[in-house]
């Protein structure tokens, strides 16, 4: 019963609010989901893991959850990994433990619920559920300009969600489907004219949630202001919801998306190059990471653009796996980076690049882990992001046959320049923070102890496993799509 993934954190959050020991409960709950998540990787089957419950008859909405296909599974895996590490790494301010840990759990539950839902309504609703505690946490327990950041992210995401909701409702009504279940929706056909409009709404709606250029300016301040676990969960997990949704809903509006391909390419390039340059100019570690996470969304979009250009998963079989691997990799790496940035803040009291330096001397373990995460995020082979990025680039050239370049190929080439840009800012930040002569604030910094290291090591291991052997994730994608009552899928599974 995949609904357990959602129930455990929610029940734990309630238990915390009722007075259970906050950190312990949260750790147990998130640990349970982690074990379940890892377990489901090894033994998932369509009928065992799904549940469908009609909650409303008109419009016909089901509380339907389950691993729709390998993509859901991978995203859930990402979610449980980041949730557990976020809880583990979280350090609640004195007296606010209840709010802190229950919010983290609720964000996690929302994210997991969205990835597990096989019904469009709950897919949307769970994401919204996760946003509320995000706003609260940033506004109440954040640092720096938290109020402003919280308002910004609230308004942006609310606006994006509304646009998205309009798109989803249009989608459902245009499809003529009786229910909101994915399997029914995906089986329907939508009039091409309506598709254009729906696709535009979906791109803008999801785009705001993913911080697609020019809707990106909420991300960096929000992540900089947010408490570390929230930044980890939002940048690592929740942000992937938009891309996940685009890929999931793509087959229904494939021709509509085609109409916007040019725009999509321009915007994703702006994400990579424009935001890349913005990132270079950042003076604070957390702002830099926030912007870098915006920038890397462009690569996932690139895979999506390749998919759109090819016209379907059959014509470009690499695009979806590439996007999924990169989503996973980016989620893990950015979560690790935010985690470690928070450690830097705790140890030195500042994240201004100009005030840091030589931290590697006093904190070699931190420097190693940060270096690993940083290298992962700039796509070093052997770490997960490279697997994703190289597949994305391959997907960009999948249908290239040695003639002139198409839009996607040009985009791929320019995106490759983004890899250089990301190396520039990441190495610059690493150089500024960890290398060079030590300064007073870093001289006395204490290195990570064992318990501090555990979450970082979990994430780093995930990066390494996927980086060294991406087939570990890719093999999950190969399993046939499954959903409750989906006859065809059970047949395939039986074969």
């Amino acid at each position: 019963m995949s609904i357990i993934f959602v129930l455990i954190p929610i029940l734990a959050a309630i238990a915390i609010l009722c007075g259970c020991k906050a950190r312990l409960t949260a750790l147990i709950a998130s640990g349970l989901t982690l074990i379940l998540g890892l377990g489901s990787v090894f033994c998932w089957k369509a009928d065992v893991w799904s549940v469908t419950l009609q909650v409303l008859s008109k419009p016909s909405i089901h509380l339907a959850m389950g691993f729709y296909d390998g993509m859901s599974l991978i995203m859930v895996l990402l979610g449980v990994l980041v949730l557990f590490t976020a809880v583990f790494a979280g350090k609640a301010p004195e007296g606010r433990e209840k709010l802190y840990y229950s919010s983290i759990l609720l964000i996690g539950a929302g994210g997991l619920g969205a990835f597990l839902s096989t019904d469009l309504f709950f897919f949307y609703a769970f994401h919204e559920l996760a946003l509320i505690p995000t706003f609260l946490m940033i506004g109440m327990l954040g640092t720096g300009e938290r109020k402003e950041a919280a308002w910004k992210i609230t308004i942006y995401l609310a606006l994006g969600s509304i646009i998205l909701l309009a798109g989803l409702i249009w989608l459902v009504s245009a499809s003529g489907s009786e229910t909101w279940l994915f399997k029914d929706l995906l089986a329907s056909n939508i009039d091409p004219k309506a598709q254009t409009g729906i696709a535009a709404l979906l791109i803008v709606g999801f785009g705001v949630l993913i911080s697609l250029f020019p809707f990106h300016s909420w991300a960096a301040p929000a992540y900089a202001a947010a408490p570390a676990p929230v930044a980890m969960l939002h940048a690592g997990v929740l942000k992937k919801f938009g891309l996940f949704g685009l890929i999931r809903l793509y087959p229904m509006v494939s021709s509509g998306m085609q109409d916007w391909l040019g725009w999509l390419i321009v915007l994703l390039l702006c994400n990579i190059l424009w935001v890349g340059f913005v990132t270079i100019n950042q003076k604070r570690l957390d702002m830099m990471l926030g912007n870098s996470s915006v920038m890397h969304m462009g690569y996932i979009f690139l895979a999506f653009a390749a998919l759109v250009q090819a016209g379907g998963a059959e014509a470009n079989p690499i695009a979806i796996p590439a996007a999924v691997i990169l989503m996973f990799a980016h989620g893990i790496s950015i979560a690790l980076l935010f985690l470690l940035t928070d450690v830097v803040r705790q140890k030195t009291g500042t994240v201004e690049l100009a005030e840091l330096g030589g931290l590697a001397k006093s904190t070699p373990r931190l420097a190693f882990l940060f270096g690993l995460a940083g290298m992962a995020s700039i796509g070093l082979p052997g770490l997960a992001n490279f697997s994703g990025e190289v597949l994305v680039f391959l997907s960009g050239f999948e249908n290239y046959k040695g003639e002139g370049f198409g839009g996607v190929q040009v985009a791929t080439i320019l995106a490759l320049w983004g890899v250089v840009i990301s190396a520039v800012y990441m190495l610059r930040a690493y150089r500024q923070t960890f290398q060079g002569p030590a300064v007073p604030v870093t001289e006395s910094a204490r290195d990570l102890n064992l318990s501090d290291q555990i979450p970082a090591i979990i994430l780093a291991t995930a990066l390494l496993v996927v980086g060294l052997y991406p087939n570990s994730l890719l093999s999950l994608l190969k399993k046939p799509p499954c959903c409750s009552g989906c006859d065809q899928s059970t047949e395939q599974a039986g074969q």
Binding site: I155, P214, H216, S217, W274, V275, F277, V278, I280, N281, Q282, P317, I318, P321, A322, G358, A360, K361, F368, M375, L380, P381, G382, F386, S387, V390, L391, F393, L394, G396, F397, Y400, K401, G402, E403, T412, I413, L416, W417, V419, V420, A423, V424, L427, R428, R431, F434, Q435, G436, P437, A438, Y469, P470, N471, L474, S475, L477
Partner: protein, 611 residues
């Protein structure tokens, strides 16, 4: 055989991981472990020498028809290159045991070396371009780590960053090239490429000659980054900030030669004949020639012993690239093979000197070392002769082949450049030799220098032997990656190289033998050489202006227009409207009542009287 090859690849990685995870506290043990693994790989590399063997690859990423594989290409080319890598690698490890004896972070250093051995082995044995690209980046990483070994020094940290970023720019082109090649041929394995171009589909070539040429030039861009060809050469001299054995291994013998190796691999896969039909291949040769000339000129005025060697490396790499561009990868690889030994020798020799002189690197503060350090003096001298191409040393044969191929393809411009560079090489190497080793001591540090211990001079001696002999057929045939023995004959190349040697030697002797200071230091032209043609300054400005300014402008626009005007405009508009309506919200009950009354009147008016 196959298992042995996998062990060669895996052992250094195992060593690196073990050192990092388990041996942080026992520094010496980690040093021995790394050296031991290097030794074993050398032995194994010698064992597997021989004809091509089949090997099973394992799938790294599989999506439908796309299979990215990690496999080993165990042909004689790769196996020969492995000798260079593991041979120099082992000797450098050995040398490092002594050189890095007192370093605080010895384990980190040896961990980095092991990681490098792993990645370099990966490049050499890679069976396809994507795998090569992965290890390509990984050598970049290990180079980054080792250059930045003394990261507390700003200069080292900056040099490491510069090296990595410059390589990234090269890799940018490399990746595009791979992608395009994959688009054209549908394969990226070397076997697949040779199959494709093996006359099986000759027609396919016709429409995509341009594209194919572009893709090969782009792949060459990767080689430009890694092999430090102009204009991406700036990182290599700076990379001398790393420990000297690292410079010997990575930045002289192996990694920087990977670009040449990769191009040779590409040429042999596609077929030199096919390449010959493409346009733009002269560009490669000319880039090599220009790099070689510029670097040689710059080397004439450097005072830092390592910098001189670094520029000479650049110059020699230019030679190799020129050979590649001249469609003679055999000559390039042969030069790579001989160069690896004598340049490693020179670097380790300089390391010994630096070690003996308590980390003094300025040659003008040395002098008279021939008495203090006779073994170092002798081996360094052999290395210098080999580099100058003194007849019947290893360098002579390989350089000869490159000149020959230039003459053969009637590229007289290139030939002239090559000959000039040969002359300059002799000039600056003898300058170095005269100033550093002969004459009298010019500083206390040089005065107190002692001969280094056996752990250091044994590698020097071995390398000196190889520097003398590796050009001869009996060794080259067996060990050199690509060796195409042509009988030695006296011709234009021979005359050119001998006269270059004589002219360079004479000038150097005239100017620098027993000199106290550089007689050319105040010459305007040589000042330009000393300042590396101001290329570094230019780049610093360019990067400063182009990148940072663009970044600042973009960020400014981002903040002003997107965040300020568009988003801020919306937010201000919403706020303004809110304020207007807020004013209506006076909190005055009577006002509300009046408005309510007005509303009622309006409703009645509209419903009753209007219609």
């Amino acid at each position: 055989m196959e298992t042995l090859a996998w062990i060669i690849l895996g052992l250094p990685l195992l060593s690196a991981v073990t050192i990092h995870l388990g041996l942080k506290s026992s520094k010496n043990l980690s040093a021995y472990l790394a050296t031991g693994s290097a030794f074993i790989t050398l032995v194994l590399a010698l064992i597997i020498l021989g004809p091509e063997t089949e090997n099973r690859a394992f799938e790294w990423a599989t999506i439908g028809d796309l299979k990215i594989e990690i496999g080993l290409q165990l042909d004689s080319f790769a196996k020969g290159m492995m000798i260079v890598v593991t041979g120099v690698g082992f000797l450098v490890h050995l040398f490092s045991l002594a050189y890095m004896k007192d370093d605080n972070a010895k384990e980190r250093y040896f961990c980095g070396l092991s990681l490098f051995m792993f990645s370099m082995t990966g490049i050499v044995l890679a069976s396809n371009f994507l795998m090569m690209f992965m290890f390509w980046e990984l050598v970049g990483l290990s180079s980054y780590l080792l250059i930045g070994h003394w990261y507390e020094k700003d200069s080292a940290a900056d040099a490491a960053k510069k090296a990595f970023l410059t390589n990234r720019i090269g890799d940018f082109g490399f990746m595009i090239g791979i992608l395009m090649l994959w688009g054209i041929t549908g394969t990226y394995t070397f076997d697949g490429l040779s199959e494709f171009f093996d006359g099986a589909h000759p027609k396919v070539l016709v429409p995509s000659v341009t594209i194919l040429s572009v893709s090969i030039l782009l792949i060459f861009m990767g080689a430009m980054g890694k092999s430090a060809q102009a204009p991406l050469h700036v990182w290599l001299p700076d990379a001398m900030e790393g420990p000297t054995p690292v410079s010997a291994l990575i930045h002289a013998a192996t990694m920087v030669a990977a670009g040449v190796f990769m191009m040779a691999r590409l040429y042999t896969s596609i077929g030199v004949d096919t390449i010959g039909h493409l346009w733009g291949m002269d560009t490669i040769a000319w880039i090599g020639a220009i790099t070689s000339l510029l670097a040689a000129l710059m080397a004439t005025q450097q005072d830092d012993i390592k910098k001189i060697l670094a520029y000479s490396t650049l110059s020699q790499l230019g030679y190799m690239v020129m050979a590649v561009g001249l469609l003679d990868p055999d000559a390039g690889m042969f030069h790579l093979f001989t160069h690896a030994w004598f340049k490693a020798l020179l670097f380790l020799g300089s390391g010994a000197v630096i070690y003996a002189c308590h980390h003094e690197q300025n040659i003008w503060k040395m002098g008279g070392l021939q008495k203090k350090m006779p073994i170092t003096f002798l081996t360094f001298g052999i290395g210098t002769l080999a580099l100058c191409g003194f007849p019947f040393t290893a360098g002579f044969f390989s350089k000869e082949q490159i000149l020959e191929s230039a003459a053969h393809s009637k590229q007289w411009g290139l030939f002239a450049v090559a000959a000039l560079v040969a002359c300059l090489t002799t000039f600056y190497m003898l300058r170095l030799f005269f100033i550093a080793f002969l004459g009298k001591n010019r500083s206390d540090k040089a005065n107190h220098a002692k001969e280094v211990g056996p752990l250091m001079f044994v590698p020097l001696v071995i390398l000196a032997v190889l520097a003398l002999l590796s050009g001869y057929q009996f060794l080259a045939d067996n060990l050199s990656p690509l060796y195409n023995h042509e009988g030695f004959h006296v011709g234009a190349p021979f005359i050119a190289s001998i006269s270059a040697l004589v002219v360079g030697g004479f000038l150097s002797w005239k100017l620098y033998f027993n000199a106290e200071s550089d007689p050319l230091a105040n010459n305007g032209l040589f000042k330009i050489f000393r300042n590396k043609f101001y290329i570094d300054e230019l780049y610093a400005k360019l990067v400063g202006y182009a990148q940072d300014t663009v970044a600042a402008i973009v960020h400014f626009i981002d903040e002003l227009v997107i965040n300020g005007l568009i988003v801020g405009g919306f937010s201000r508009a919403a706020g303004g409207i809110g304020r207007i309506f807020g004013r209506l919200q006076s909190g005055n009950l009577q006002g509300y009542a009046a408005l309510f009354g007005l509303g009622v009147i309006l409703v009645i008016y509209l419903t009753v009287f209007v219609s």
